[in-house]
């Protein structure tokens, strides 16, 4: 059923999205957004979706009733929208899909073309549901009579002594089907992170934000997506998401260890014929030795790059270390189409970094 208000509602949503787009740069750098990520919905504070009026200033006082003496607290009341006084702030729910769409429009990201042959989809119909509309051939007698009975009992026109049930049009139910798609283009993202001593809280926060947006965008493009996390210092291991963002170790850095771990992970679970593979590596670029860096390039070139859609290297600035690894990559793999690199020195760079990674639509 289409309500008349639907148009106004859509227009309102459109305005809200527009407002979010204007503020996208700000949202991209807001850690709290990630915290608010629910199952499929996130709440976003939007300012200024309001018509101004002549009005009095902050007026949080009033009259209430109850016990208590002067000076007693009567609770928090409604909280007033913070930072900019007088600006009405409104929380709007968006799906991650909506958010990704806004991101795409603003960053002008092209839609990702999944790898060729995996786009074959099989669709199967399964009759599992009930609907209020449908063709007569699918009429469900039992359910229709049940509805009619319910209605008659409700309005009191059912007489158990003379149990006649007359279904009306709105009682009729129809069988309905669901389309079941067999797995389409699946994708896996492998996030690798350097957790050596030089990667502090600040760097982690940048990684966290960046990977959230990477995840959001890829999720928009693929039906099913899996995320795997690998951390490394001199040795690498696979961890869960929680550990990934909070683990901190001391010691040196051997990036090749992560690449090796990644390779074995892909080999055992993700065949490149069936999966679109995205690899992201976050580090401050302070690899322990030149030799290891050369090793990395070799693994990348010979093993990982042929398997994956893209390898993104994101170097975060750190107070320690040379940050040389990005130069190594530039030197050896500069023109490789699957290798993309970006430097993120502060939260403001995330915007451009995302653009670098996905601007070409791999």
């Amino acid at each position: 059923m289409i309500l008349k208000i639907e148009k106004d509602h859509q227009r309102f949503r459109q305005i809200v999205k527009g407002r979010i787009r204007e503020d996208l740069r700000k949202f991209l750098t807001k850690g709290e957004l990630i915290g608010k990520e629910g199952k499929h919905l996130i709440s976003i504070p939007v300012r200024g979706v309001e018509l101004p009026h002549f009005r009095y200033g902050d007026n949080s006082g009033g009259v209430g009733a109850g016990d208590g003496s002067e000076g007693d607290s009567v609770g928090k009341g409604r909280t007033q929208g913070g930072e900019e006084s007088g600006q009405h702030i409104m929380e709007v729910d968006l799906t991650l899909d909506d958010l990704a769409e806004i991101l795409a429009e603003e960053l002008k990201l092209p839609r990702i073309e999944p790898k060729g042959k995996h786009r074959i989809t099989t669709v199967r119909d399964k009759y599992s549901g009930i609907r209020r509309v449908g063709p007569e051939s699918l009429r469900h007698f039992k359910r229709s009579f049940k509805e009619a009975l319910k209605r008659q009992i409700m309005v009191g026109s059912y007489d158990p002594a003379n149990p006649i049930i007359i279904p009306q049009k709105k009682d009729i139910r129809y069988r309905s089907w669901k389309e079941i798609k067999s797995p389409q283009s699946n994708a896996v993202i492998v996030f690798m992170m350097d957790v050596s001593g030089s990667m502090g809280e600040e760097q982690k926060e940048l990684v966290r934000l960046e990977s959230f947006w990477i995840d959001t965008w890829l999720r928009k493009n693929y039906e099913g997506i899996e995320s795997r996390y690998i951390v490394h210092d001199v040795a690498a291991k696979e961890v869960d998401k929680q550990t990934f963002y909070h683990l901190r170790e001391d010691g040196g850095t051997k990036i090749s260890s992560a690449f090796r771990a990644c390779k074995s992970l892909l080999d055992s679970h993700y065949q490149p014929e069936e999966w679109n593979i995205y690899l992201f590596h976050f580090s401050d670029g302070d690899n322990s030795s030149e030799a290891d860096s050369r090793d990395c390039v070799r693994i990348l070139r010979e093993q990982l790059l042929p398997m994956c859609n893209m390898f993104g290297y994101c170097q975060v600035a750190s107070a320690y270390g040379s940050g040389n690894f990005i130069n190594v990559l530039h030197e050896h793999l500069r023109n490789h189409e699957k290798v993309l690199t970006s430097r993120v020195n502060s939260k403001d760079d995330i915007y451009d970094s995302i653009k670098t990674f996905f601007g070409k639509g791999h």
Binding site: V49, L51, G57, G62, A65
Partner: protein, 510 residues
Amino acid sequence: MSSHEIGPFPAELLAAKKQIRERARSYGLDFFPVIFEMCDYEQMNQVAAYGGFPQRYPHWRFGAEYERLRKQHFYGLGRIYEMVINNDPCYAYLQESNQLVDQKLVIAHVYGHADFFKNNLWFKQTNRKMMDEMANHSTRVRRHVEKKGFDTVEKFLDICLSVEDLIDPHSMFLQRGPMEPARLEPQREQALNKFKAKDYLDRYINPPELMEAQAKKERDQRAKMRHVSPVQPTRDVLLYILQHAQLDDWQVDCLSIIREEAYYFAPQGMTKIMNEGWASYWHSTLMTRHFVEACDIIDYADHHSGTVHMPPGSFNPYKIGLELFRDIEDRWNKGKFGKEFEESENLGEKNRWDKGLGQGRQKIFEVRRVYNDVNFIDEFMTADFIEKHKLYQYGRDAHTGQLRIISRDPQRIRQTLLYQLTNMGRPFIYVVDGNYANRGELYLAHQHNGQDIEIRYAVETLKNVYKLWQRPVHLQARIDDDMILFTFAGDQPKQQPIHDDLPKPAHLVS
């Protein structure tokens, strides 16, 4: 399926409706016919977002309201039990998922509202065919959208809605449709300061030269006023703009639609406490005396107490209105009013006071006819009432952000309420000059009643006024005891303290 399909009205409810209606009539309630419609929660939310109407002009703010209601519904933060429209006949909506006892409660409540709409003086000027009128407005705006484009019309509506409250809801007899500018009647030429004197003394007591000088002054004054617009400060800013701004026909049409609807809704804002109180009084009276079955009493009590619940730090008009009506009824039944009662010093005697007048019912019917929230609270919220219901004044603690009880002084509590209710909590804005400094600029003034206006909002709103007026606009307002003139002329908003060198507007409002 259309969005406004009316479900069949269950026989049981129909019977209940008839009984409640007749019973309400027997108590003296007098209402337009009420048409009840059943709807599901989505339709209910739509109707509520549209302010009770099945159709409105297209605008996103209804969508925003709808989103809010829907979210509130999904999160279980409250649902709408009832909606009723001031119209002849009244339309009321019942939510189909409610139980029978709830529906009865709502029906009784609705008859209370319907009686209030019909009889309260402040509703006398409202259009009783608003259902049709709203549909017309919707069509008219849609037509403008077709001609001018969606964005153009939406932008203009945004502007109009931003100033929609600049009307004069207190002038009950002002013509509310478009009209010719009114002029004051030319006064008879008379010497104002003429002393009474016998004929032969007249030219000594009222020297002709002096009389002539006075008359000339008077004539000059009037000549000057002839070029002054408005003739006196006017609160109906929208009307003034409609009559004097350079607007296109479609713009005039949109603005007058907004203005007309604002006038239609204003009395509901002005009588919120009374209206809800009156309806609650009647649902409570009718239900508890006649219509609650023994088996439903718990459910009834539960839902009734839900509607009149007043959580700490908030104000429930249902609760306060209901208690005030009950209090008035009790006082007039017992004769607890007037000089003798007020001056009695004996507390015990006052408590026991009962003259057996029995005028309570009569009094509350009279009150519902002539009062609005402001004078209702002012007159009937007595110190005793405030004490009995443990009312307090609260405010936000600047340090902790918590709401704290500031005072239990009846005078201050009443004052706080009156501040919030006067002009529906909005500032009084007047047009004091439509040709400021003889440059065709619009000069508005805020009448300061103890509270400053919010500058940010004022400036934003002023920009919208400018878009309507299309010449520079000014707003005079008192901020922190200084008179400030806000000006917007299309580029950067300006503000400056008002000093003697500035040209004076035609009238003074401060």
